[in-house]
Amino acid sequence: MELMQDLLISRLQQQDSQAIGELYTSYGGALFGVVLRIVQSRELAEQVLQDTFLKAWRNGASYDASKGRLFTWLLNIARNTAIDATRTAYFQHYRKTDSLDNLVYAPGGAALNPDHLGVQEAVNKLDEKYKVLINLIYFKGYTQEEVAEEVGIPLGTVKTRLRYAMVELRKVFGENYAGLLALVLAMGDLS
């Protein structure tokens, strides 16, 4: 799996357009969800998503795997592109016309990934204060200072909660040792 990822990265760095197609298949939906939450307009989110993958193609050579995962790199491109878009007059026009719920849950348009319904349930059980923090910072582009102001808590508390929010989130997605063991045993005698 990692080898495939490495080859994909190598092709991205060589500006292989088919590599962008594969990245889109893997991450398009996740990035579209993030972008939609930031710009709150389907039309603008579609433009931002296209721009994101064009930027990824243009800047593929600058991606350094030792500094982070491919998805994190793409997420930061998408988030920054979306934040830039929100500063335009175009955004100011479209923002007035759509509500977030309509955008995300529009019939026939968007849908939550059914493969993740169980995990979604687990995510929903996260403490609200952590969910708010993760959504504001990771998916809406707030700085930690802005979060402190928005939520009305000290900056130090934001940092502490952010750390603990990640610990909680990782527990939700935590490596399932029992599952791994079952897999190992199912592979037969390893001794």
């Binding site: 080898l3 064009l54 995990v119 910072i137 610990v167 040792y177």
Partner: protein, 265 residues
């Protein structure tokens, strides 16, 4: 800054966000280079974020992928190979033919030189890819070895399974695998609860001859939910304490889990 303080500082989270200052980025990248545990922690944070984003994915319009690829086709750079422009040559008759042949020869030589450069560049890239692939294979092999060792310990008939409970309802919240023949001890972290607060840390203990011996801090994010511990013979029971110090304390502060007396017979 020691490793545990660094991990608990929130700097890695800021780094993932792209919100770290230049000074913080330098520190994070230095720690990543020096400590495998920091790299594991970073990867774990990134994976959680990725999974969280995937859970909240929204399907883009079906035409989107085609439109992006069409745009890439339009802006993809045209290869410059063999597109040199030759200016008209002056002169007449044999001289003109000679000049044209010379110009053609020069273009041909330039083309071959360019091709050779491209070939060498591609060869260097392929060699680098191969080296990277070998490195990854070695890492996979090491990971596989760890998994194999873990399975072997659990399957061994001489391995004792020791439950650690909070003493309230007897329900096990951590399982320890202890083998005096192999001299190996491993802790399954999958059922272990997190510390009661962000500034609390779990420390593992063996009680030998009535005295607590520290077996180190519990690594909650250890790969595969498994942590190898130093093996000790003659352990009377095991315990996990909650501590304020990320590096632990010489004696346990508050015991949160403990085993029944260990049968050393």
């Amino acid at each position: 800054m020691d490793l545990q303080t660094f991990i608990q500082s929130g700097l890695l989270e800021s780094y993932v966000l792209g919100q770290a200052t230049a000074e913080e980025r330098t520190l994070v990248e230095r720690m990543l280079l020096q400590h495998a545990e920091a790299r594991t922690e970073l990867s774990s944070i990134e994976q959680a974020i990725e999974q969280y984003a995937q859970v909240q994915a929204v399907t883009p319009p079906i035409w989107m992928k085609g439109r992006i690829l069409d745009q890439l086709e339009q802006i993809a750079p045209q290869t410059p190979v063999g597109t040199s422009v030759v200016t008209p040559v002056a002169g007449t008759g044999a001289l003109r033919i000679f000049q044209m042949l010379a110009a053609g020869l020069l273009v041909g030589v330039a083309f071959l030189w360019y091709q050779n450069g491209q070939f060498q560049q591609q060869q260097a890239q392929q060699q680098q890819q191969l080296a990277d692939a070998v490195t990854k294979l070695n890492e996979c092999s090491q990971h596989s070895e760890t998994t194999r060792a873990m399975a072997n310990l659990i399957r061994d008939a001489d391995t004792k399974v020791i439950k650690l409970t909070n003493g309230e309802n007897g329900k096990a919240t951590a399982l320890l695998y202890d083998n005096d023949v192999r001299n190996e001890t491993g802790l399954d972290l999958s059922g272990l609860m997190a510390p009661s607060a962000p500034d609390k840390y779990l420390q593992f203990w063996a009680v030998i001859d009535g005295k607590p011996v520290s077996l180190g801090m519990v690594q909650m994010q250890a790969p595969n939910g498994w942590q190898n511990l130093d093996h000790h013979a003659g352990v009377q029971f095991y315990a996990i304490s909650e501590e304020n110090n990320p590096s632990g304390n010489p004696t346990p502060t508050v015991i949160v889990l403990k085993s029944d007396p260990v049968n050393n017979g």
